[in-house]
């Protein structure tokens, strides 16, 4: 069966994030105050053919670790993409 899965890739704690910092700096001018700790990341959505959802998530975590993220600077996590 096909399971929709979402992988989130975020910068590891302590790694500089100029993109997040720039976005955060732009917010007050647009009237959004009180927003801190903005971090930019990436999300990937895919359908995985697997026995079960947990098997699909396991596969997603593995490919996220191997290809979708650079473990030197990034963390990756997989979650279900099912709607509802």
């Amino acid at each position: 069966m096909n399971y929709p899965v979402i992988v989130d890739v975020t910068l590891r704690h302590g790694i500089a994030d100029p993109e997040g910092a720039t976005i955060e700096r732009a917010l007050p001018a647009l009237g959004f105050t009180g927003v801190t700790n903005m971090r930019a990341g990436k999300s990937f959505r895919m359908d995985i053919d697997a026995e079960s959802e947990s098997a699909a998530l396991e596969k997603a975590a593995a490919l996220a670790q191997r290809l979708l993220s650079n473990p030197v600077i990034e963390n990756a996590s997989a979650r279900s993409g099912a709607k509802g």
């Binding site: 302590g14 790694i15 500089a16 100029p18 993109e19 720039t22 290809l67 979708l68 650079n70 030197v72 600077i73």
Partner: protein
């Protein structure tokens, strides 16, 4: 003496690297990314460009090209490997060099001359230069900010692995790092483009001392 220049789909500085090496009177040839060995070459250059479109992350997909296993074997047997710009990104993704390259601090692409200072001469790239020597070499990248964690930085310093620093940090690189080497010194990566600084007609000939060092006789096994 023969230098191989690896070509990934999306590489674009391969001709420039080839020309620069040939201008030093050294034979050079392209190596297509699907090759599974780099036999017959005395040194390998991973050139600049946008291998696989830089999609996902610069170097992330290229590191899985068949040729990269051969490059890793070549490196571990002491072969001279140089990654320029995108090639540096591929080498860090492949784990052949420590650290990673992130987007520039200003979040724009930068093509401009930079002044580098030679920090270590114990590498296949800098062995012809002198410590403290200043070189004008252009950069040309979007993701050139060198990043690593504290422990990695400490070990880079301890092992004299930082080969080049910017005198004026253009991109937010940690500790002004422009280029690093592996512990043995036979694998080097740098963001600036020495192949673009081979002639005063084009603005600078300071890259020559670097590439002349690289194409010298093989370093031999360590």
């Amino acid at each position: 003496m023969k230098i191989g220049v690896v070509v990934f789909p999306g590489s674009n500085c391969e001709y420039d690297a080839l020309n620069a090496v040939q201008s030093l009177g050294v034979e050079a040839e392209f190596i297509w990314h699907t090759n599974t060995d780099v036999e017959g070459f005395d040194g390998v250059i991973l050139p600049g460009g946008f291998a696989h479109g830089d999609y996902l992350r610069p170097g992330a997909i290229a590191r899985f090209s068949p040729v990269m296993e051969a490059v890793a074997r070549f490196a571990s047997s002491g072969g001279a490997v140089l990654g320029i710009c995108n090639g540096f990104q591929v080498l860090t993704e492949a784990g052949l060099l420590p650290g990673a390259l992130q987007k520039n601090a200003g979040l724009t692409f930068l093509c401009q001359p930079t002044t580098l200072v030679v920090e270590s001469t114990a590498s296949v790239l800098t062995r012809g230069a002198t410590k403290g020597q200043e070189l004008v070499v252009p950069i040309n990248h979007f993701s050139g900010a060198y990043t690593c964690d504290d422990a990695t930085l400490a070990s880079l310093e301890a092992n004299d692995q930082i080969v080049l620093r910017y005198t004026q940090n253009p991109n937010g690189s940690r500790d002004d790092i422009a280029g690093v080497r592996n512990v043995e010194g036979n694998v080097v990566g740098l963001m600036p483009h020495p192949e673009r600084a081979m002639s005063t007609l084009l603005g600078s000939a300071d890259g020559r001392v670097l590439l002349e060092g690289f194409v010298r006789a093989p370093v031999g096994a360590h």
